[in-house]
């Protein structure tokens, strides 16, 4: 099975192609540059490089979020269109689950996160069993400080994986002290090859048309409107 994996959910943009059990190509950039301009050319270039035509693809895997709303929509729009028009299955995988794979050989809990502004992060908790990274909590948006206080006594050690570490490192260290470990920069880019691998064995979505990004939270206007309805 030939799988195309697409991730534009955060600054890290990734494209990978997997053929059977082999990752045959992968592109990653970690730049504050426009995914809308660069994602489709990257897909085109990688397919060309590995000698595949679009109609030879057999599955599309997309990072479904959480992440930047705009970034997510670019990747998901492309993924849905390709899957629908080529008549092949579509699989969505959590962007946090992809990032968590870098902690595969760690024995404590694995905490991938993306900054979500105002002290908040998108995160969820994972734990490695052998070489298999298992999810322990759902993807959510939290105030990092609250989350740290809630979890600090539950586990012996934490591995944080994030490109947004600089923003939150101080908070983490002040609450967890030496229980906190930080993945080095070479392990903090979400790898599209991991996305392809996870997506190749996951159940595809039932209906491509109705697939949507996992924004994790409502649009601000929607949340305010709902709150006003409850009054």
């Amino acid at each position: 099975m030939k799988v195309l994996a697409i991730d534009s959910s955060n600054y890290c943009m990734g494209v990978a192609i997997m053929d059977g059990d082999t990752i045959i190509g992968e592109i990653i950039t970690n730049l504050k540059k426009n995914h809308s301009v660069r994602l489709m050319p990257a897909i085109d270039q990688l397919l060309e490089e590995v000698g595949l035509k679009p109609n030879e693809l057999e599955r599309i895997v997309v990072a479904e979020g959480p992440g930047s709303y705009t970034g997510l929509r670019i990747g998901v729009s492309i993924a849905k269109t390709l899957a629908w028009t080529l008549g092949i299955p579509l699989v969505g995988v959590s962007s946090l689950e992809v990032l968590a794979q870098s902690g595969r050989y760690y024995t404590g809990v694995i905490v991938p996160f993306f900054d979500a502004r105002r002290g908040q992060v998108y995160t969820s908790l994972f734990k490695s069993e052998g070489t298999f990274v298992q999810r322990r909590t759902e993807d959510q948006i939290v105030l990092l400080e609250d989350w740290l206080n809630e979890n600090k006594d539950k586990y012996e050690s934490f591995l944080f994986i994030s490109n947004d570490l600089a923003i939150h490192k101080e908070t983490i260290e002040s609450i967890l002290g030496n229980k906190a470990l930080f993945a080095p920069v070479s392990s903090t880019n979400a790898r599209p090859s991991e996305l392809a691998r996870i997506g190749s064995s996951k159940e595809p979505v039932e209906d491509v048309h109705h697939f949507t990004p996992n924004y994790v939270r409502l649009a601000e206007a929607e949340a305010k409107w709902l709150a006003s309805q409850k009054k």
Binding site: S77, T81, E222
Partner: protein, 338 residues
């Protein structure tokens, strides 16, 4: 492929309509599907960009499928894909642009980035043959422009709004009168029941200018309502709507008529969502009756945002050899052109 019988698929997502259409030879509409989000945005009193973008992602492939089904065609039959590149809401535009790029890539078809206003103007080609030189009056929620066209695909903006678009002024006045969103049709309806009894300004600007300004008029309406309230005078909303509409229409029609004469055009085209306004349609018909210029007013479903107009304008660009690369991006400030 027969000459001039190319089949172009158009995609439009610049605001709150997710639309796909298929047009043959730049004139014959073989599918035209529009999913309006208006019901969703009504509760906010206007279009919320983030919500619009979310709806576009939910609707896009469904609308594509519906259009191809309606036309009984597959992507193999399509000669090119035209998509609105700008202007518009950037987050909304991005959905159409990236969908179009994925489609073009998957089927190795030409991609044509298209200007939204060029689309509104070329919507008229779906009704009649265009004869140049012509003048187009473009009025919508985001635009008020007079565009002179010497020949096919050549646009010269001779006048534009310096502040609010006409449609924007309609929405704001509607809000002042506590009418539901979108306010344009409500004001148009009220205006027909009212008397033009309130004195409101007309912004003619400098002598000879084809530019527009509606913010002074909008403020005058708000002040009139405010003053009436303070003095406990009852103001008939019908009369206010009629007086407001009369001011907008008089300026639009007078400047259009003058430009048509100065430029000696064969045709005058009305384009954009406000073209649905009955006051404007009637006043234009009256003004151009007996002049040398033919007035063309498209039916309502081609005035409001749709993708058939994008396919029609895209066809002109396609014939002129325009091809966009996979680097095509949403461009909210795109300049009018082919």
């Amino acid at each position: 492929m027969e000459t001039n019988q190319e089949i172009i698929l158009g995609i439009e997502t610049s605001c709150d309509e997710t639309a796909v259409a298929i047009v043959k030879g730049g004139k014959e509409v073989i599918a035209n599907v529009v999913a309006s989000q208006i019901e969703s945005h009504k509760r906010f009193g206007g279009v919320v960009p983030e919500i619009a973008s979310r709806h576009h992602v939910e609707q896009m492939t469904l609308i594509l499928k519906e259009a191809l089904d309606e036309a009984k065609l597959s992507m193999d039959d399509i000669d090119g894909i035209a998509v609105t590149e700008g202007p518009g809401l950037v987050g909304a535009l991005l959905i159409g642009v990236n969908t179009a790029k994925a489609l073009a890539f998957a089927h190795q078809k030409p991609l044509i980035g298209t200007h939204h206003i060029a689309g509104h103007i070329y919507a008229n080609q779906l009704m009649t043959d265009l004869t140049y030189p012509l003048l187009a009056l473009v009025v919508s929620g985001g635009h008020t422009e007079l565009v002179y066209m010497e020949a096919e695909g050549e646009f010269k903006v001779i006048g534009e709004t310096r502040d609010d678009a006409a449609g924007e002024a309609y929405d704001k006045v509607a809000r002042t009168l506590q009418l539901p969103y979108p306010g344009g049709p409500h004001i148009d309806r009220l205006a027909q029941e009212g008397e033009e009894s309130i004195d409101l300004p007309r912004a003619w600007l400098e002598k000879g200018s084809y530019d527009f300004s509606f913010s002074g008029l909008k403020s005058a309406v708000i002040n009139t309502v405010h003053n009436a309230k303070q003095r406990n005078v009852e103001l008939k909303p019908e009369d206010l709507a009629a007086s407001f509409q009369a001011s907008v229409v008089e300026v639009l029609v007078t400047k259009t008529l003058r430009a048509a004469e100065e430029y000696g055009v064969n045709q005058v085209l009305l384009a954009g969502g406000v073209a649905a306004n009955s006051g404007l349609r009637n006043a234009l018909k009256e003004a151009f009756d007996g002049t040398g210029a033919e007035l063309v007013i498209p039916p309502l479903h081609y005035c409001t945002d749709n993708a058939a107009m994008i396919a029609a304008a895209g066809t002109i660009a396609y014939r002129k050899g325009k091809r966009s690369s996979l680097q095509l991006n949403a461009n909210p400030g795109l300049e009018l052109g082919i």
